[in-house]
Amino acid sequence: MERIPILKMGKFLLVTIQVDMHDQLALTLQDDLTNRIVNDHAHGVLIDIASLEIVDSFIGRMIANIVGMARMLDAETVVVGMRPAVAITLVELGMTLSGVRTALNVDNGMAMLNASLQRQGA
C-alpha cells in the first residue's frame, strides 16, 4: 500500500509529502505519524511540503488536523517549504492555518524546533 515515509532525525520526525494526497493516504499518515511520535518519543515534527504544487482545502484541513494531533502528544509541528503559489492559494481559500508554525525550509524549521525545545528545557 502507498505510504508517506516518516524519517527520524534526532529528536524530530520528518515527513516529506511528495505525492497528491487523498483520503486514504491522509488517514494512513495520521495513523503512522501519531504512532511514531509515541514510539520514538519525538518532540517535534517537520512537515515538508516543498514538492507539493497543488493544494486544496482538503490538504489544508489535513495539515491542521495533523498539527492538532501532534500537539496532543506533546510534539510541536512546523510546516516547512511551502511554495509561494501554494501559500497564495491557501490564503485565497481562506485557510491561513493560524496556530500552525511555519518555516521557509527544513533548516529553519529544525532551528525553530531546537529553539523551542531549549526554551522548554530551561
Binding site: 510546516v79 516547512v80 511551502m82 511554495r83 509561494p84 501554494v86 501559500a87 497564495i88 491557501l90 490564503v91 485565497e92 491561513t96 492555518l97 493560524s98 511555519t102 518555516a103 521557509l104 525550509n105 529553519n108 524549521g109
Partner: protein, 284 residues
Amino acid sequence: MAQANKLAQLVQKHEQDVLKNWLGQQLSAVTRRADLMKESELQSQSRQFLQSFVGALQTNPDNIDDPAWSPVKEFLEGVWRSRAVQGFSPSETASFVFSLKQPVFEVTRLELDAQEFAKEIWQVTNLLDKLGLYTTEVYQKSREAVISRQQQELMELSTPVVQLWDHIVALPLIGILDSARAQIVMENLLQKIVDTEALIAIIDITGVPTVDTLVAQHLLKTVSAARLMGADCIISGIRPPIAQTIVHLGINLTEIITKATLADAFAVALQRTGAKVTRDSVNH
C-alpha cells in the same frame, strides 16, 4: 466590376495630373507640416500610395477587407508609423488620404457624364473614407498598445522588494493598491522571501494614500501568505489619518505587528533576527 475598372483606368490614365493636384492639395493644406516632412518624401509617399490604390481598385473595388487591399493597408500602416515618429497628429495623417478625393473627383468629372460621375464619386468617397478611418483605427490600436505596455511597466516598477539586512526584506508600497496590483505585490514578496530566505518582511504603507476595507483585505492576505512561508510580517508607515480610518472601519489588524515608521519596524526586525546595531564612540 466594369465600373470600377473604369475608375481605375481613369486614375491610371491621369495619374500624373492626379498626383500633381494631390500634392498641390497637400502642400497648401493647413494640416501640412513643412517642418516635419520634406516635399520629396511626401511626393514619393503619395506616388506609392496612388499606385497601390489603383492596383487594388482593379481587383476588388468594393470591399477594403478584401486581400487585394492588404498592400494598400500595409502601406498606410507604414506611412502611419513613420508619421507618428515624425510627430504628426492623427487628423494630419488622416488628411493624407482624404485629400486625395478632390483630385480624383476632378479627373472623373472631366471624363464622365453626370450620371456615371455621381456613381463613381460615391464609390471613391466611400473607399477613401474607409481608408481614412482605417488609419485612425491603426493609430488608436498603436496608442492602446502603448498604454497597456506602460500599465504593465508601471505595475512592475511600482512593487520593488528590497533586502534590508540578512533575512529582512522590505516592501515599500506607493500608490493605490487595487486587486491586480495587490496580487503582483504578493507574488513578488513571496518570491523574494524564497530567494533571500527572509524571516521578517516589512510592508511599508507610507505611500498608500487611502486604506479602505479592500486594501486592508489585500494586506491581510499578503501577511497570511507570507506567514505560511515562514516569514513574519510587520506593517509600518501607518499615518495618523489611516490609523483612524482603520479603527473606524472596524478592520482587525491586532494579529499583525504594526509600527508607525519603517525605522521602528526595522528595529523590531533586527531584534527578532538577533542582529544588533551599535554606535561606536565617534572621535572627531
